[in-house]
Amino acid sequence: MMEFFTALAEQSFLQSAMIAGVLASIACGLIGSYVVVMRISYLAGGIAHSVMGGMGIAYFLGGSPLVGALIAAVVSALIIGLVKLYWQAREDTLIGALWASGMALGIIFISQTPGYQVDLMSYLFGNILLVAEGDLWLMAGMDLIIVGAIALLYRPFQAVAFDPEFARMRGLPVNLLYLLLLCIVALTVVLLIQVVGLILVIALLTLPAAIAGHYVRTLSSLMALATLLGLCFTSAGLAISYGPDLPAGATIILLAAGCFIISSVLSARKKPMKSPDTRT
């Protein structure tokens, strides 16, 4: 482990990786909390996988895969949100279709790209050690948008997540707020993909908030604790993976999943004693 800290002091790529972890934790703590309390992790998973299509097309056209990912994520979020709000169609079927067709589209475009084959693995499983300085600035920009949106819209988002019908009764623009929230989820997904890749992103998005939910009972404290946990998982995962040269993204996720299981067992044991007579 000492080896990691020595390297951290000397190697700029490790410093960049640490900063990327911090930036990702902020987004995953704030937005992961909404995803967990609104129970839309399947929706977020659909957005994450459809991103592959955008990355593939951007790569084929010679553009930035990150920009392609961003466009694809927001487009899928809007499609899913509009269908849910206005057509009331089978939302889960649609998400499944977007999930798979996004992946398929991405693979076809990448296969047709002339020149050397891109390292698919880094899209799928993340490349936190290869995050460039430019990417860090972009991630910081996305964080700024996310933090700004939450600071401005904390109450309305809370009302829409909790009881949309009542929020509509109070005259809030519920549909607009819901779509906006989904777009912010899309933004967060793209940001987190930098760290753990699109296959594992859903775990980093939901596990810290799910663990935090075992201990705190307000949305704002859920966000704070989830951010802190995200920070622990990304930095500890990075440190653990460095010595034995394990994939960093996968190590971060396994660490988070391990803590989630332990925490679930502990809080399940404690619950029956704490409140024997809730809910009549």
């Binding site: 309390v37 129970r39 401005l152 819209l153 109450r155 309305p156 809370q158 009302a159 997540a161 909790f162 009881d163 019908e165 009542f166 929020a167 509509r168 009764m169 109070r170 005259g171 809030l172 623009p173 707020l177 939910g213 705190v216 009972r217 307000t218 949305l219 404290s221 859920l222 409140s275 007579d277 809730t278 809910r279 009549t280």
Partner: protein, 248 residues
Amino acid sequence: MGRFPKSIIEFDRVSFRYQSVPVLENITLAVREGEFLGLVGPNGGGKSTLLKLIMGLISPDSGSVRVYGTTPKKARSRLGYVPQFARFPSDFPITVEETVLMGRLKQRRIWQRYSAEDKKIAHKSLEETGVAEFADRPIDQLSGGQLQRVLIARALASEPELLLLDEPTASVDSHQEKGVFDLFKELNKRMSIIVISHDIGFITDYVDRVACLNKEILCHETHAITPDIIDQMYGGHVHAIHHHSHAI
């Protein structure tokens, strides 16, 4: 009925279909200011749909709905709404106080802050419904009856002129049910109330008038509920239970 000078709700030959299934047919109904109206009828008889039309959450397929002389959407801010028991996730991380403060959300505004005034009103509502002691508790630590009172407090925090309640006592036992209706009776001194109930015998002790709903309005006077009408409404499988009706 000089006690009810003006109509606050007017349904004029209103019909509503859900997909192709008719839910309400040719409803004409007026609700007067200060009135305490009970809505009864079988499941699927259109009671919740009627409330949603009043709130402008849905629009009629034909006919017109006027609320306070204007469209339901424009009148929304004057209404308080208590939904059927807990449709939202019961483990949502939110305190009682935060829940009630949602009644203070402002119309068509994106930026929302709660003022000291908002908090004062929220606490007054909690006291009025008898759950002020739970203000800091997360809602998942409340019993069904307590949560119901919190939801009533949330509606009161909007300072409504008309309170709409969808089966407010579905999740409480009959002892608590009386307490909740005593509260409504008290509230009725300063606001109009429409309450959906499955318990026709019980509510006639409290309300000014009952509207029996099964796609159509079958009757709407307390004293006019006869076994014949109950037969017509529920299809003849219900025993009429006589009880004293108190003077209102």
